[in-house]
């Protein structure tokens, strides 16, 4: 279980997170939605300790990752797999080196065992046989799949997805959504997905949380969000532009 208590974060005087409180239960698929720039990705980076908050704390299974010692942060990070928005594959490494890097660095597995695990992970994302290819040879969708294979290689408890379908065509995006559901069901992981793609969000979410201006303004199921009366939430899921007066009034 991950607990976020009052996370605040500013960059150069601009406050991005203004006190985010959230609880993420083990095994659930939580989708964090919100407009671009509302702090979704920044919050995601706090969960894995890539950013430290100015105030507040993140607890992962009871261990504080925020502002913790580097050794503790690395120990807690072993529970996570992260799929970045751009996949963030290492350019200078082949697909198999990308997927197997965590295993090489953190386990005493032999080369044969690592190769076997890499092949398993690539098979899970339907990309068998591309071990020797370089990231530059892959399409956007393939890069995301390889990124996901890398994220699951170390058998994490939590998988974080940062805008997993952004920049993909609708069919490829849907296949990524299917993969996220498949990971959730087969690996029994906790999935935390940041997106502003409502089609994806409704397909993969057990629960949705909406961030707006650095705060959580909604938390609930698909049914609950669809019947919401909060204007900004209603407009967001309908894809309507904001009425500034309403936003000001709400806060």
């Amino acid at each position: 279980m991950i607990i976020s208590r009052g996370i605040k974060k500013s960059f150069g005087g601009k406050q991005v997170l203004r006190g985010v409180d959230m609880q993420i239960d083990s095994g659930e698929s939580l989708v964090i939605i919100g407009q671009s720039g509302c702090g979704k990705s920044v919050f995601l980076k706090h969960l894995v300790g890539l950013l430290d908050p100015d105030a507040g704390e993140i607890l992962v299974d009871g261990d504080r990752i925020s502002n913790a010692k580097r050794a503790d942060v690395y120990r807690i990070r072993m529970k996570f797999g992260v799929l970045f928005q751009s996949a963030a594959l290492f350019d200078s490494m082949s697909v198999e080196q990308n997927v197997g890097l965590g295993l090489v660095e953190h386990t005493k597995m032999t080369k044969g065992e690592i190769d076997k695990r890499v092949a398993e992970c690539l098979e899970m994302v339907s990309l068998s046989g591309i071990q020797k290819q370089m990231p530059s040879e892959l399409s956007g969708g393939m890069r995301k799949r390889v990124g996901l294979a890398r994220a699951i290689a170390m058998k994490p408890q939590y998988i974080l997805y940062d805008e997993p379908t952004t920049g993909l065509d609708p069919i490829t995006a849907d296949s990524i959504n299917d993969l996220i559901i498949q990971m959730q069901q087969e690996l029994k992981v906790t999935s935390i997905i940041v997106t502003h793609d409502m089609v994806s969000a409704f397909k993969i979410a057990d629960r949705l949380v909406m961030l707006h201006l650095g705060r959580v303004i909604f938390s609930g199921t698909e049914q609950e969000i669809k019947t919401q009366s909060i204007d900004i939430v209603r407009r967001f899921i309908a894809g309507e532009s904001e009425d500034k007066q309403v936003v000001t009034h709400y806060f």
Partner: protein, 266 residues
């Protein structure tokens, strides 16, 4: 009752600028210090991940060899030619060999190699790490619980610290050979005239101090390249700026260090 003194904006502007620059410099220095502290803590990684260290020795060191040797060859050739011109009519040409030897080993070999390393290695490290930073590859590494300083910075800094003296040794040799070739083929010297007096002027301390300087040049260039790369932000433009910054800072550092080490060593 005292009256508030109003300072004209034209007088305040330079003070504000100096203050801003001072703050930025202090902040950079602090971030550089923190990174170097982390790197020092993780130096043991050279032994635990030898293959990374060896890969960087080859990539940053061995692959720099053709360029630095070419620079050394022409530097030596020019030194021989110039010294011949300078000594003509004043001193015997037998002094050209020792003159070239001293100037190459003490100063020109280490400093020119240091400057070439700044251009080639510091800038390439900054560009590579900067690109990794802006494309979230460093975040990806960190999210896999792999220390980016241990995995990326330590092997590069250790490799350059070790490889620069090796490069300088070869530059020194090729530069002296360049001077010998020019003075014997194009000018009127014989080989025995060129090499004859070198043993009399040979001092092992000169060679040692030149190599010691080069060790610091290699280390500082790689450290600056890593810091600037890790600190890059803002996409392609940011990477471009980081590359320039790494080259400028590391070149200046080589020259400043050269002066400071000369004061200490001689």
């Amino acid at each position: 009752m005292s009256r508030a003194v109003t300072i004209p904006a034209i007088l305040l502007a330079p003070v504000q600028l100096i203050g801003k620059l001072l703050l930025e410099f202090t902040s950079e220095l602090g971030r550089f210090g923190i990174l170097m502290g982390r790197i020092t803590k993780e130096l043991g990684a050279i032994f635990s991940r030898r293959e990374l260290f060896i890969r960087e020795c080859v990539r940053l060191g061995v692959e720099s060899l053709p360029l630095v040797l070419l620079v050394g060859l022409f530097t030596g050739a020019v030194s021989g030619w110039q010294l011949h011109y300078q000594l003509e009519g004043y001193m015997p040409f037998d002094m050209i060999g020792p003159g070239v030897f001293k100037s190459i080993v003490l100063e020109m070999g280490p400093v020119l190699t240091g400057l070439v390393i700044s251009g080639r290695v510091a800038a390439s490290i900054a560009a590579e790490l900067g690109t990794m930073k802006v494309t979230e590859q460093i975040d990806a590494l960190e999210s896999m619980a792999i220390s980016s300083t241990r995995y990326l910075a330590v092997p590069r800094i250790a490799a350059m610290t070790m490889m620069t003296p090796v490069l300088v040794t070869q530059v020194n040799f090729i530069a002296i050979m360049g001077a010998w070739f020019v003075t014997t083929v194009f000018l009127s010297l014989t080989s025995s005239q060129f090499f004859g007096l070198i043993p009399s002027f040979f001092d092992l301390y000169d060679v040692f101090s030149g190599l010691l300087k080069s060790l610091f040049f290699g280390m500082s260039s790689a450290m600056i390249g890593c810091y600037v790369g890790f600190d890059a932000s803002g996409g392609a433009e940011g990477v471009g700026s980081a590359t320039i910054k790494a080259f400028v800072w590391s070149s200046l550092t080589v020259l400043v260090l050269d002066f400071l080490l000369a004061m200490i060593l001689f």
